[in-house]
């Protein structure tokens, strides 16, 4: 890939380390993702309202539930509210549409333009999504955080160190979601309409990531099964770190497992892409 870049853009210093070249290539995709989203910034004002509505619904539900109870599933009400609010806040950051983008590129045929570029499709899509997330951090995540902290009884992170670990954990969540979305998106090549599948994935992720309800609320057998799956590392684990329920060695282990899942899913996406792309037929231009 580094070599391909050199061909495209000969520089006076003709030798450049391959890794640096790769980073520059994908850095360009990150920049494009950021700038492209800038054009649609108006939509993000209503995004803040949307997230506010999500959190409001669950605020009232949990308030009604905790009316009499003290702690359920290991959470008291302030912890639960923090869990819900911070859960939606980080969702505004790690969320992306790679699966849908890939499906659109397949159905509109623009995929060809990406096939002829000397980059990995998965890498390019994830880099673009990273740029979009960086954009959302300023236009959506930060304002939403501000509003939610003012309106709802949301607690600050357990400690500065926990917050640092939480931030690293959210970055890993982004890569898990991105790789998962890419893997699902590759199915678009084999199917004509993937929307139903994407909707199923959407609801499945909301539930099994722990975004809607902490994993500790699930029946024990489900909890054990979920330990072997990547989903709870998207939302539940970062939130436990935020709340200080996972710290020290346990937090390190959790971060390590997150990193493992991110890499494993990227590898899975790559394999699925190679399996799916053999089937590509481009319909006209």
């Amino acid at each position: 890939m580094g070599a391909a870049l050199l061909v495209r853009e000969p520089s006076p210093r003709s030798y450049r380390p391959a890794l640096l070249g790769t980073l520059r290539t994908y850095g360009e995709f990150v920049r494009m993702g950021f700038v492209d989203t800038l054009a649609y910034r108006l939509r993000y004002y209503t995004g803040i309202v949307t997230y506010f509505i999500y959190v409001s619904v669950y605020y009232f539900i949990w308030k009604a539930i905790y009316e009499h109870g003290t702690a359920i599933g290991g959470f008291d009400f302030p912890q639960m509210m923090t869990y819900v609010a911070v859960g939606w806040i980080i969702r505004s950051l790690y969320f992306n549409n790679i699966d849908q983008d890939l499906a659109t590129q397949v159905s509109e045929g623009t995929l060809v333009m990406n096939l002829i570029k000397p980059v990995s499709i998965q890498g390019a899509l994830i880099a673009t999504a990273l740029g979009q997330s960086a954009f959302r951090l300023t236009m959506l995540t930060l304002p939403t955080t501000l509003v939610l902290f003012v309106v709802f009884p949301v607690r600050r992170p357990a400690s500065l160190l926990q917050f640092a670990a939480f931030s690293a954990s959210v970055v890993l969540s982004f890569f898990i979601v991105a790789a998962l979305n890419f893997a699902v998106g590759t199915l678009a090549i084999r199917l004509l309409s993937i929307l139903g599948l994407l909707r199923a994935k959407y609801f499945l992720l909301e539930l099994l990531s722990g975004l809607l309800i902490p994993i500790s609320f699930f029946p024990r057998i489900f909890q054990q099964a979920l330990n072997f799956l990547p989903f709870q590392y998207i939302s539940y684990i970062p939130l436990l770190i935020y709340l200080g329920k996972l710290s020290g060695a346990a937090a390190w282990k959790a971060l390590g497992t997150q990193a493992f899942w991110a890499l494993a899913l990227v590898a899975l996406g790559d394999a699925m892409w190679r399996w799916s792309s053999r089937k590509i037929t481009v319909q006209g231009g």
Partner: protein
């Protein structure tokens, strides 16, 4: 009226043919969409493993409410496709010119040109879950109740269509896509739980401003034996009629304001 029914049947059959041309694909879409809907119940199912009631509402009552909200939503989703794309396809790309040249009401054409057939699964799933809940709760429905049930579903569909139609009409005045639809669409979630858990402001909003309460909560209270809401229950068809009228008036004013993009 007869002509419109016939046209509707023709539109529907035509679109169904297009969609069923790829049968396997359609069935995958149908079943994956159904899976999505079933997973949507997950929150309530998991929650009630830890709590006995939600503010006096039992598991099967909450489930009944949730399932009831799916039925009109399913019908709405079948026809709402064109509403989402209205600004882009009909106004910006100028397809509305074609619609205006035909001797059928513009709204009729826009609503029924395309159907999201797989959303019918929401209707099916909703009705199945409602039946299970009725058995578990021992609800006996008279013939009159059945008639009310159908009327309530119809009213709820009208409420959903009217609310989103009014929002869609904004495209007649503002060419750029107005981002107000997603937040309002997400307000549907409020209607899936008893209105009583919310504060007065939200209760008022969901009753008289964006009347989603009349599309899910109030209709179910009658079947779940909560007579405290009888007035609201009986008001439902009136609210639906009023909002439909409002939507048609706004639509007609929008059409009068329409000037083609000339493409």
């Amino acid at each position: 009226m007869r002509r419109h029914l016939r046209l509707f049947a023709l539109y529907f059959a035509q679109y169904a043919k297009v969609r069923l041309a790829y049968k396997a694909d359609f069935f995958i879409a149908f079943f994956s969409s159904m899976t999505a809907t079933v997973i949507g119940f997950g929150f309530v199912l998991v929650l009630f493993t830890k709590i006995p009631t939600l503010q006096g509402w039992s598991f099967y009552e909450i489930l009944f409410l949730y399932a009831f909200s799916l039925v009109p939503l399913g019908f709405f989703n079948v026809v709402s496709w064109n509403l989402y794309e209205f600004g882009d396809i009909y106004i910006i790309q100028g397809h509305f010119d074609r619609v205006m040249l035909r001797p059928v009401h513009t709204l009729f054409q826009v609503l029924f040109e395309k159907f999201r057939l797989e959303s019918l699964q929401e209707v099916v799933t909703g009705l199945v879950v409602i039946t299970v809940c009725r058995h578990r709760l021992g609800i006996v429905m008279s013939a009159l109740d059945d008639a009310w049930f159908v009327l309530m579903i119809l009213s709820a569909v009208l409420i959903y269509v009217s609310v989103f139609l009014i929002l869609t009409c904004a495209s007649f005045w503002f060419e750029d896509r107005v981002g107000i639809v997603p937040p309002v669409f997400n307000m549907l979630t409020f209607g899936r739980y008893p209105l009583t858990i919310y504060n007065t402001f939200i209760q008022f909003m969901l009753s008289w401003v964006i009347p989603f309460g009349f599309a899910s909560f109030y209709p179910t209270t009658h079947f779940l034996g909560r007579s405290a809401y009888a007035t609201y229950f009986h008001l439902t068809p009136l609210v639906a009629a009023a909002f439909s009228l409002l939507a048609v008036v706004v639509w007609n004013r929008g059409v009068a304001n329409y000037s083609s993009t000339g493409t």
